[in-house]
């Protein structure tokens, strides 16, 4: 009921999903169908069910939900460990992105039990029974749990996430006081997992034009970097009814960030800067 940090799990579940039909407003090729169940081997004691979204682009069929029964004694503690166990021992066609397995690369972001998180930092014991695993929301699915992030990265490159200066380069480094460097804390740590952006309803409805929390957090990171000299141009590019102002402070982003960052706060600060420069 009272959540203090995004890694805190809710103690009560009143509603698992919004009261809309399962395939509400979904195009024909996106309709999800029932899939197969893979039962645990005989003799397994601690069995856990995982319901996982599957899509095979080569089969020409619609996406489906497959249920896997995993023996937790053969598997590590994290959801990513379960996915790897399923791929190694049960069904080798299961496809997902992964790399560091310690919550720093952002590859294994997915929707687990209705909220977005990194599979490698989510304990299996903290998931529901059965655990439901979907790819990140409202994105074109390449295969199984692998969404197409091209557009999100294109939006990231749009904000020109590099230092822009007109002052000639100094002989050594550009100096920055500890206080100035501190202003970037809480924003530079973003691993671009896109949990926040794919959990934002405004980005669902207007993702082609709204930049989304991850990209806006990064643009704030550059706005507030004391070495950057292009704040005015950056704000000019952001001040747009869709690029920035589709944010209605829904705050799903702050609720879901697996690195405990605060995109909502950064976006509010950008809006304040825009008001400041015209008063």
């Amino acid at each position: 009921m009272f959540i203090r940090s995004s890694d805190q799990l809710p103690s009560v579940t009143a509603l698992k999903r919004f009261p809309v039909p399962r395939n509400f407003n979904v195009s024909t090729e996106s309709r999800i169908e029932r899939g197969k169940t893979w039962h645990a081997p005989a003799g397994a004691t601690r069995v856990k069910k995982f319901e996982i979204y599957r899509y095979d682009p080569d089969s020409g069929q619609n996406p489906r939900i497959d249920t896997y029964e995993v023996d937790l004694d053969t598997c590590g503690p994290m959801v990513l460990d379960a996915l790897i166990t399923i791929k190694n021992e049960i069904d080798s066609t299961l496809t997902f992105r992964r790399s560091c397995r310690e919550g720093v690369c952002g590859s294994c972001s997915m929707n687990i039990d209705g909220t977005n998180w990194l599979a490698c930092t989510r304990f299996i014991s903290d998931t529901a029974e059965p655990a439901t695993i979907y790819p990140l929301n409202h994105l074109r699915v390449i295969k199984d749990l692998v969404p197409d992030l091209t557009q999100l990265f294109a939006q990231y490159s749009l904000i020109e996430p590099w230092l822009q200066t007109t002052t000639p380069e100094p002989e050594k480094e550009r100096l920055q006081s500890p206080e100035d460097r501190g202003k970037v804390d809480g924003f530079y740590e973003c691993i671009l997992c896109f949990c926040c952006t794919s959990g934002c309803p405004s980005h669902w409805w207007n993702g082609d034009r709204f930049l989304g929390p991850a990209v806006l957090l990064q643009s704030y990171r550059w706005l507030v970097d004391s070495r950057d000299e292009a704040a005015g141009d950056r704000l000019d590019d952001l001040e747009d009814p869709f690029r920035l102002y589709r944010c209605h402070t829904i705050l799903n982003c702050t609720r879901t960030c697996p690195k405990q960052l605060n995109p909502g706060k950064a976006i509010a600060a950008i809006k304040k800067m825009i008001v400041q420069r015209r008063s």
Partner: protein, 129 residues
């Protein structure tokens, strides 16, 4: 193109309702309800300007069970939109973004709007006598 045939991953069909998104959509729904209420406000003023007969027919509707139900819904929408609106203004000033504060202020808004609605209707009955 192969890209266009790719399915879209589900969003609202499977995303967990949280205090953040539920209060936000409620703010929008109450806003729309209040917009409809604004139409009624104008028709009420117009009826009053037209004379006692027009006014009493509008009052008669307000006192019917449907009218009272709408008024109750309208007052709750008003108080919720007002309290959550203040919460929005505080965010726009840059404060209250820590997750603990977001949740505490959210529940406060729910409690306050319920309390204010009950208080308003209770006072209304007291005034009526």
């Amino acid at each position: 193109m192969a890209h266009d045939k790719r399915p879209l991953s589900p969003d609202i069909q499977i995303y967990r309702p949280q205090l953040t998104s539920v209060l936000s959509i409620s703010h929008r729904v109450t806003g729309i309800a209040l917009s409809v209420g604004a139409l009624l406000l104008v028709s009420w003023l117009l009826a009053a300007a037209a004379g006692p007969q027009a006014y009493s027919s509008v009052q008669g509707f307000m006192r019917s069970w449907l009218g009272l139900l709408l008024m109750f819904g309208w007052t709750f929408s008003l108080f919720f939109h007002l309290c959550n609106g203040i919460r929005h203004l505080v965010w726009d000033a840059g404060y209250g973004f820590e997750l603990g504060t977001i949740y505490a202020s959210g529940w406060t808004v729910v409690a306050a709007s319920t309390a204010l609605t009950v208080a308003a209707w209770f006072s209304s009955f007291v005034v009526m006598g």
